[in-house]
C-alpha cells in the first residue's frame, strides 16, 4: 500500500493523540516512503541507518507537525535535514557502490514528490560543488580521485564540498 497525504495526515493526528496502532502504521508507511526517497542518494548499506535516523527524528519531533498543514512536506523537510547531516558525517568507502535500485515512481503524487526530491536541491548548487559532492560523498571517490576527474585541485575539491554542504543545509525547505 502507498498511503496518500490525507491518510498519512490522518494517522499522524491520531498518533499525536497517543494512538499506538495508528502510529505503527504511519511509521511503516514513512519507512517505505523514505526507502524510495533516499534510494538513489545513499549507498544501500547506509539506507537503513538513514531511514532509522529519520524515523527517530519524526518520533522526537512529532509535536512540531501542525495538523493545520500538510504532512508530507514536513516529513520531507526532516528527511532532507537528516540526509544533509548524513552527508556531512559519512565518508563513504570505495566498496560502497551505489546499486541500481531505481523503483518505478508508483505514487500518484509525482509532482509533489518532484518538488520535494533530493535531486531538486542539487540543481541550486554550482556545478563544481554539486559534482564533487556527488563523487566524494555519494559515489565514494577519494579527494584525489575527484580531483583527477574534475580537474579541480585537491584543496579546491575540499573547499567546494564544504561550501556545497553549507549551501545544501541552508536550502532544506526550498521547494522551487
Amino acid at each position: 500500500m502507498i498511503a496518500d497525504e490525507t491518510t498519512l495526515a490522518h494517522l499522524m493526528r491520531k498518533a499525536q493523540g497517543g494512538d499506538k496502532r495508528a502510529y505503527a502504521v504511519l511509521l511503516d508507511e514513512c519507512s517505505n516512503w523514505l526507502q524510495r526517497y533516499f534510494r538513489k542518494r545513499v549507498p544501500p548499506q547506509q539506507l537503513d541507518d538513514l531511514v532509522q535516523d529519520v524515523l527517530m527524528s519524526v518520533h522526537r519531533k512529532r509535536s512540531s507537525w501542525d495538523p493545520d498543514r500538510a504532512f508530507m512536506p514536513w516529513l520531507a523537510a526532516i528527511a532532507r535535514y537528516r540526509w544533509v547531516d548524513h552527508l556531512r558525517k559519512v565518508y563513504r568507502t570505495a566498496e560502497d557502490e551505489l546499486g541500481d535500485h531505481d523503483a518505478a515512481e508508483e505514487s500518484e503524487e509525482e509532482a509533489v514528490m518532484a518538488r520535494m526530491s533530493l535531486d531538486r536541491l542539487f540543481v541550486h548548487l554550482p556545478q563544481k560543488q554539486a559534482e564533487v559532492i556527488e563523487m566524494v560523498k555519494i559515489e565514494g571517490l577519494s579527494i584525489v580521485e575527484a580531483s583527477e576527474r574534475t580537474g579541480q585541485s585537491e584543496s579546491l575539491v575540499k573547499v567546494n564540498i564544504h561550501r556545497g554542504l553549507k549551501k545544501l543545509s541552508a536550502m532544506i525547505e526550498k521547494a522551487e
Partner: protein, 213 residues
C-alpha cells in the same frame, strides 16, 4: 520491511505518548502575550510618550517605530513557521522588512555627511541608554521565541536563530521606543535600530546551541 526497521517501529510505537501539536496560532498567542507584557513593563517603568497623541512627534518617530513593528511581526511569523519544518517554507518577509529598516541608519549617516558634521553628531546623551534599554527590553520576546524553536524542529538552525534575534530586537526596541521622546532621525535611525542588529547576532550564536534534534 526489514526486521531492523520493524523492531524500531515496534519500539517507538510502544513508547508513544500523546503530545500537544505546535499550532502556529498558539505560537502567535504566546508571542502576543510576551509583547503585551513587554509594553506593559515599559509603560510602568518608563511611561509612554504621548508625542503622537499631542501632535508633537516628528514623522521619524512614527516611521521608524512603525518599521520596527513591521520587522518584529514579519520575523516573529517567520520564526514560528521555521519551528515546524516544511518543504516550501519561504521566509522572505523579514529580509525585505529589514532592508526597509536599513534605509534609516543609511539616511542618518548620509545626512551627517551632507551637513558636514562629524560622527560625534550621531551620538547624543541618551544614545547608549536607548540602545541598552531597547536591547534589554527584547529579553522576553527572545526567551519566548527560543522556547518555541526549542520545542519545534527547525531544520535551518542558524537562520532560525538569526530571525528570532531580529524579531526580539525589533520588538524590544519598538516597545522601548514608545517611551522615548527623542524623535530625531539620527537618534532613532541609529540607536533604536542597533538593538535589532545586536540581538540578531546574539540569536544567530545562541539559539542553534539550544536546539536539540
Amino acid at each position: 520491511m526489514n526486521t531492523r526497521n520493524a523492531a524500531l517501529i515496534a519500539e517507538l510505537s510502544d513508547e508513544l505518548e500523546p503530545v500537544r501539536p505546535m499550532r502556529a496560532r498558539e505560537g502567535y498567542a504566546v508571542l502576543a502575550l510576551a509583547g503585551a507584557v513587554t509594553i506593559g513593563a515599559v509603560w510602568m517603568v518608563a511611561g509612554l510618550w504621548d508625542g503622537v497623541l499631542t501632535g508633537t512627534a516628528s514623522p521619524f518617530f512614527v516611521i521608524i517605530n512603525g518599521l520596527l513593528l513591521l520587522v518584529a511581526l514579519a520575523a516573529i511569523g517567520a520564526s514560528i513557521a521555521l519551528a515546524s519544518p516544511h518543504v516550501g517554507n519561504r521566509q522572505d518577509g523579514p529580509r525585505w522588512a529589514l532592508a526597509m529598516l536599513g534605509v534609516m541608519p543609511i539616511a542618518a549617516i548620509a545626512m551627517m555627511l551632507g551637513q558636514g558634521s562629524g560622527v560625534a553628531s550621531l551620538i547624543d546623551p541618551h544614545a547608549f541608554t536607548c540602545f541598552a534599554a531597547g536591547s534589554a527590553t527584547s529579553a522576553l520576546t527572545f526567551v519566548a521565541l527560543a522556547w518555541w524553536l526549542k520545542r519545534g524542529a527547525p531544520v535551518s538552525t542558524t537562520l532560525s536563530g538569526t530571525i528570532a534575534g531580529v524579531a526580539a530586537g525589533a520588538a524590544g526596541s519598538f516597545a522601548y521606543g514608545l517611551s522615548c521622546p527623542i524623535d530625531g532621525l539620527a537618534h532613532l535611525g541609529i540607536w533604536h535600530v542597533l538593538p535589532v542588529v545586536v540581538c540578531g547576532a546574539l540569536g544567530r550564536i545562541a539559539v542553534p546551541r539550544i536546539i536539540r534534534w
